[in-house]
């Protein structure tokens, strides 16, 4: 499809496990964002890429969170040693270039047991 694609849509993991969440942005989109949306809350910024460069990671809550976009297209958000407070929906968004509207994927709902 032509939209932002995220996988998996749902992920259940036991506390302490590592997880990897994938984002396929719209083809040709330079900017890519990750947001975390806790239950009943608005999305909160995690990190921003321009092509393969991670220009802002100020929103990552701890050093257990790591994101990459090695070839400037697909991005992966990795969470190590997951904890219950990591349970949330993780949203990916892309835009054609800086300043253009962001297009959101449907998110990955992560549940940590």
């Amino acid at each position: 499809g032509a939209g932002v694609s995220q996988s998996p849509r749902y992920k259940v993991a036991k506390r302490g496990q590592d997880v990897a969440l994938r984002c396929d942005p719209i083809s040709g989109h330079v900017s890519l964002f990750w947001y975390q949306q806790a239950l009943g809350q608005g999305p909160e910024f995690l990190t921003y890429f321009q092509n393969e460069a991670q220009l802002d990671k100020s929103g990552l809550p701890s050093d257990r969170f790591f994101a990459e976009r090695p070839e400037g297209s697909v991005s992966t958000l990795k969470i190590q040693r997951t904890q219950q407070e990591d349970s949330a929906v993780y949203l990916c968004a892309s835009s054609l270039e800086e300043g253009q509207p962001q297009h959101f994927g449907d998110g990955t709902r992560l549940s940590i047991l």
């Binding site: 932002v4 964002f33 009943g40 608005g42 921003y48 802002d56 968004a93 835009s95 800086e98 300043g99």
Partner: protein
């Protein structure tokens, strides 16, 4: 620092009635303002945006919003709602310069009843 406040967590309304969802922002610099809609188990869809120019902006699905700089508000309105408008609505802001990290409000749940 920027912040966005949505004054109502839930708004119940009857079908075909008008609705207003309130949003206030705070920022020491110029911001751009947005409204997004989120249907269950889906991502965010842009309803409308204010970047500059006319303070009354029209969006999709019959929604409109008015930017009021003196009151630092950006309220969303629709003159007649439908059952299908039931969803979560988010107001968001970003700085007018630089890359476009969005700051979101906590959301307003619009529930349209027959």
């Amino acid at each position: 620092a920027q912040s966005v406040t949505q004054l109502d967590s839930q708004v119940p309304v009857f079908e075909e009635a008008p609705v207003e969802l309130r949003c206030n922002y705070s920022s020491s610099v110029s911001v751009y303002l947005f409204w997004y809609v989120q249907y269950p188990n889906q991502g965010l869809q842009l309803l409308l945006k204010y970047l500059s120019g006319s303070t009354l902006v029209k969006g999709i699905n019959g929604f409109e919003a008015e930017f009021n700089k003196s009151q630092t508000s950006f309220h969303l309105r629709k003159p007649s709602v439908h059952i299908s408008d039931t969803a979560e609505y988010f107001c968001a802001a970003r700085l007018s310069g630089g890359y476009n990290k969005l700051i979101f409000g906590a959301g307003t749940r619009l529930a349209v009843h027959p």
